[in-house]
């Protein structure tokens, strides 16, 4: 265990550690606490400059109601779900297949294709921007949810393939061999052996991709123009422009935008962290 467990330290260390941890957590979260406090306040507090004191009114719910009534926030959120959920399903399904293909078959181009997926995953978005926007235009999908989803699925396939391939590679190969000797077709090996065994990886990928796509801002800006298809990140940005002085509403909007990924994270914490830290402890 590193560092030495605090329980083995003198009493004074233990006490100061127990004080230090919450204090540092508080300092670390000041920005988030600030925005939460602000979302509770009314315009009165904001104009009076009361940012850190006790809110004079508790208006969180009325602020949220305000946001929903006076802005297209609801439609932004729905759009975010319409973009995020199909992307998660598509990218995970496709990468189960590519991951399986690259993990359990030997063929010449295998590593080359694998490294192409990895390299593509790290490429700066800007080098893709103009051709992707053009392509989306030509397919008649500019400014539609479908156009954005298609791109997201394609791009996320890179990361997901890396993830899935490494996961499937770590499964015992004898399983597949035994099934092959029994005459199981390759399709059935995939459906009946690989897919059930990769459930933890599927879960981890789903939460990760959900968060990535929910929080995407760049592609929403490039491929979407109108409110009808705009996700919440781009929506917040446009509200940010309009609402320079009504920070309590902007704060409420930000909190609304943050809620789904935060819930996702807390529900699936183990998977989420397992996914993010893939490779942090070995090789």
């Amino acid at each position: 265990m590193f560092p030495i467990p605090i329980q083995k330290r003198p009493l004074i260390n233990r006490i100061s550690y127990k004080i230090l941890v919450p204090v540092s957590l508080f300092i670390w979260l000041i920005p988030l606490i600030g925005i939460m406090l602000t979302s509770i306040r009314g315009l009165g507090d904001i104009t009076a400059g009361n940012y850190w004191g006790i809110p004079s009114e508790f208006l969180l719910f009325s602020n949220i109601k305000d946001v929903f009534q006076n802005t297209p926030m609801l439609s932004y959120i729905i759009n975010s779900f319409k973009i995020t959920i199909p992307t998660v399903l598509g990218a995970v399904a496709i990468s189960c297949m590519t991951g399986f293909a690259l993990a359990s078959y030997k063929f010449k181009a295998n590593l080359f294709i694998f490294f192409t997926f990895i390299a593509g995953n790290f490429v700066p978005f800007q080098i893709l921007m103009i051709p992707v926007r053009d392509l989306t235009f030509q397919m008649g999908l500019y400014d539609t949810v479908t156009g954005l989803v298609l791109f997201h699925v394609a791009f996320q396939t890179g990361f997901c393939t890396l993830f899935m391939r490494n996961f499937i590679k770590a499964l015992p190969n004898e399983l597949f061999e035994a099934a092959r000797i029994d005459g199981t077709s390759e399709i059935n090996i995939f459906l009946k052996i690989v897919v059930p065994l990769t459930r933890p990886a599927i879960a981890a990928l789903s939460v990760l991709i959900f968060t990535f796509i929910w929080n995407d801002f760049f592609w929403a800006t490039v491929l979407i123009q109108g409110q009808h298809a705009m996700p919440i990140t781009a929506g917040l940005k446009s509200l940010n422009g309009q609402w320079v002085t009504v920070y309590h509403l902007l704060s409420a909007g930000s909190i609304i935008a943050a809620v789904p990924p935060v819930i996702m994270f807390f529900l699936m914490q183990k998977h989420f962290i397992a996914g993010l830290t893939l490779g942090a402890s070995k090789g």
Binding site: P31, T116, F122, P131, R133, I273, S281
Partner: protein, 316 residues
Amino acid sequence: MGWFSTTPFLNVPVSTQITYRKSSWWKLNQQRLTPWIFLFPGLLLFLVYVIWPIFNSLYISLLQWDGLSPAIYVGLSNYIELLDDEYFYISLMNNLKWLILFMLAVPIGLGLAIFLNQTIFGIRLIKSLFFFPFVISQVVIGIIFSWFYNPRGVIGPFLDKLGLSNYAILADENFATYGIIFAGIYPQIAYCMILYLTGLNNLNTDQIEAGRMDGAKGFSLFKNIILPQLKPATFLAIVVTVIGSLRSFDMVAIMTQGGPYGSTNVLAYYMFETALSEYGYRMGYGSAIAAVLFTIMMFYILFFIYRMYQSEKKGL
């Protein structure tokens, strides 16, 4: 394996002949063809949306094109123009600032991870709360920090005390970039922290105990025994931090849009602005900027791939 030779089947009715031949052909080649069938949808999408656009962008960078009217081939003149573009250099310098300062996220994340790697009551919840900023959209982080920096915002009272009333860092062309980087590094520290927490969790206890027996303590224990074991985590932390720093688009777009006077531009944002915003639709010039960014990133990508290739070779 001679699946095309029809003679052995001549005495079989045609319909069964075909199915039999098909299935036997399939049986013979199943092993060889299956990976390609499984790869097909993913590979196709990836080629169309990721690989081809890279080359297409490199080609567009040789054009003068507004996206609508016919493009004119201009050779390297976009790149030559870049050499004289003041904003390009500002962006490049800012990218460098991002890169260097972002690297601080790695040791800070390590420090936090060591600090939190204890088992006290509620530590799991505390760790997750520390990780919180990474889960939230950068747009939200950007909005929070803009509000923070606003002299009439939450930081105001403290600025007054420091004698800096009405100081707006995001409006100060000398310091605005640092203000954005500070906001950007916040979630990045959380990410590095979680990587190191996982690394610390998987340390080899025997080695540590042996080291302690030999009298290794404090920093020398850390440097000689812990840090080498954390190498995979460090590698990953550096990779994601470099890439995160070069992808610094969201924060700039939210907090300053490149201003004041272009002083907070980074290549990622400057490219976007050149190709798709008020600067006019200069697709060729934008692509040239993207190509520069791509080249810088490519060093890291190749380095990463090289590392993976080495470990793959070991694994085989």
